[in-house]
């Protein structure tokens, strides 16, 4: 247990010290997104990696959080700090209700159903123009602020977002090694055996689905206040696939893996600036390659690779 705590503290220190190394600049903005994407990836990982349930519509929950916060704080001049938890509650509630019928499905059917759900949400964003501003989006969303201190620069937003993300990482780590986390993994490995020893698999799956949606909603609200502008295009099918790719690459069931996947997929396009249009090819190829050659994700695959490479040299390499 203490080892895990140390790992977390080391990670948190690295995150909190990063701005000092990068001294503001364009990269700070990207790192803010790494934070948001990490949050989203962890939410999805809890559902996909731990509970073993596929969702191809998570961009929908992200978008719902963003739009709910955005609309409440613009059209209705709500306090953002109230809008955020309310949005999360609404999204969580919707996910909980929809979770019951949707999680009765398995495998491909669940994938298609969540895909359909995500697309319906996206279409609603596009069509309810009076509310959401339609395809051109919603602007004028206020930054978050505490008293006179406003989160209006990349560095300030970085710390805000990452404070929340670190909190979520901690929650997820706690969950993974707890009674609930074990029950989740049990349901994933053998649902019938889990039920036989008393795990209410159905309820558990719905709870995790709702939790995952709440995390995505919080990420969405924070995104809205950071960007001050949201548009439907960010919440479509393509982004759901991007999230899936992050989780798969990092490693299903690995919290730090989700960070790795999120970081990689957020930073990579920045370094391949000229290749912007190629990103969809890269995602597709990455997904396929990972599933074929490194099903455990980078978090397991790279150490395994090292072991294979150094095994031949007769060295006891501690990768």
């Amino acid at each position: 247990m203490n080892r895990d705590l140390l790992k977390f503290l080391a990670f948190a220190t690295m995150i909190l010290a990063a701005p000092l190394a990068f001294q503001g600049g364009y990269l700070m903005n990207v790192l803010v997104f790494v934070g948001i994407h990490t949050m989203l990836a962890i939410g999805l990982n809890l559902l996909l990696g731990y509970a073993g349930q596929i969702s191809l519509g998570h961009a929908g929950f992200f978008g719902l959080g963003a739009y709910l916060s955005g609309i409440l704080t613009t059209s209705y001049a709500w306090n953002p700090w109230l809008a955020l938890p309310l949005s999360a509650l609404i999204v969580g509630g919707v996910a909980f209700l929809i979770g019951f019928p949707i999680l009765k499905l398995k495998g491909h059917y669940l994938a298609m159903a969540t895909l359909g759900l995500g697309i319906i949400i996206y279409i609603v964003f596009n069509e309810t123009v009076e509310l959401t501003g339609g395809p051109s989006g919603l602007s004028g969303i206020p930054n978050l602020s505490i008293g006179t201190f406003t989160f209006d620069t990349d560095v300030k937003n970085y710390y805000l977002i990452w404070a929340v993300t670190l909190g979520i990482i901690l929650l997820a780590l706690n969950l993974a090694n707890s009674r609930v986390g074990r029950a989740l993994r049990a349901v994933h490995d053998s649902e019938v055996a889990a039920r036989v020893v008393g795990v209410n698999a159905r309820l558990l799956k719905v709870q995790i689905f709702a939790l995952s949606a709440v995390i995505s909603s919080v990420a969405g609200s924070l995104y809205a206040h950071t960007m001050t502008f949201v548009a439907p295009a960010s919440f479509g099918f393509n982004f759901s696939i991007e999230l899936l790719t992050m989780v798969v690459i990092g490693g299903l069931g690995s919290i730090y893996g989700s960070f790795l996947g999120a970081a990689l997929l957020t930073l990579l396009p920045e370094f391949l600036r000229a290749a912007h249009d190629y990103d969809i090819i890269i995602y597709g190829s990455l997904l396929m390659v990972m599933v074929m050659f490194m099903p455990g994700g980078l978090v397991r695959g790279i150490p395994d690779l090292f072991k294979k490479i150094f095994k031949g040299r007769g060295g006891a390499d501690h990768a």
Binding site: P101, H108, A113, I119, I120, I281, P295
Partner: protein, 293 residues
């Protein structure tokens, strides 16, 4: 709401529905032979249209030659997909299969975008575009082509699956793969065939609808999903039930778009999909299965 308006929506709905039916049958064939839902099915539809364009404009072939070439090329793509993506999979769990077929679909889409850009292209209609009047509604010759070709393909399908050895072998695989293998059927070859037939059918669907709706690198996504919806309505049948499913979907979508709102047109298919999956996942015509532990 006048009769001829209703008729108009219904007729165009039937024609789109026929397309959904063809795509849905493609899903069902692969699913029945392998248990896999091929998320990339829609991309073969896209390839049909785009490749025809390639043969037509870049290679300057006449339409009647470009089309078979495009179908053949799509079939080759289907084979490559099965060989490179599906077969080498070490752990074919549902999650892995979903991810790999999604990855494959994205890859194909991306390559198409590289090759042909993001613009939409038009394919010439097969026999001109003089509207035909039927009882107050108008349809285009292309609509008739669609219905006729769909009918032909579904009939050929039925003949193949019920009256040829190879087709019967595939049906055997869909009922019980192990037993089929034990009686000497080459299951892996059947898997390959199923991908070939599905990609060919998908390509045909893409080709016959392209003159009406234009074609572009990303038409596959929506068409694929709606085709899947048709297959679900039909209970994953590779025959009449899915055809009916497609037609129902097409007509409902058309009526919905015309009578309620066209922006939500796409949502109709997905709402139907969700409702079905929630309430009756075996489709309108399927029988519910009991699971053996």
């Amino acid at each position: 709401m006048q009769f001829d308006q209703l008729l108009q929506y219904t007729l165009s709905g039937l024609s789109t529905g026929a397309i959904y039916a063809l795509i849905g049958i493609g899903f069902s064939i692969i699913y029945n032979a392998t248990g896999i839902i091929n998320f990339a099915q829609g991309e073969f539809v896209m390839l049909g249209g785009m490749l025809t364009l390639l043969f037509l404009e870049t290679l300057q072939l006449p339409l009647w030659a470009a089309i078979p070439c495009a179908i053949a090329a799509s079939t080759v793509a289907g084979v490559l997909f099965e060989r490179l993506a599906i077969r080498p999979l070490r752990k074919p769990t549902p999650i892995n299969l979903v991810i790999i077929t999604i990855g494959g679909s994205i890859l194909i889409r991306g390559l198409a975008m590289l090759a042909w850009g993001k613009d939409t292209h038009a394919l010439p209609p097969f026999s001109g575009d003089e509207p035909i009047a039927i009882a107050g509604a108008t349809i285009l010759p292309q609509h008739l082509w669609i219905l006729a070709i769909t009918l032909i393909i579904v009939s050929v399908n039925r003949f193949y699956f019920y009256h040829t050895i190879s087709g019967k072998a595939m049906r055997a695989c869909s009922y019980n793969r192990r037993a089929a293998g034990l009686v000497g059927i080459d299951v892996r070859r059947m898997v390959l065939f199923s991908f070939m037939i599905s990609s060919a059918m998908g390509a045909v669907a893409g080709i016959i609808v392209a003159p009406l709706t234009m074609t572009a690198y990303d038409v596959g996504v929506m068409l694929g999903l709606k085709g899947f919806c048709a297959a679900i309505i039909g209970g994953m049948s590779s025959g009449l039930a899915t055809v009916i499913g497609g037609l129902i979907l097409g007509v409902l979508e058309s009526l919905g778009a015309g009578l309620i709102s066209s922006g939500y047109k796409d949502a109709i298919a997905f709402i139907i999909l969700l409702l079905l999956l929630f309430i009756r996942p075996q489709g309108l015509f399927g029988k519910s299965e009991s699971e053996r532990v």
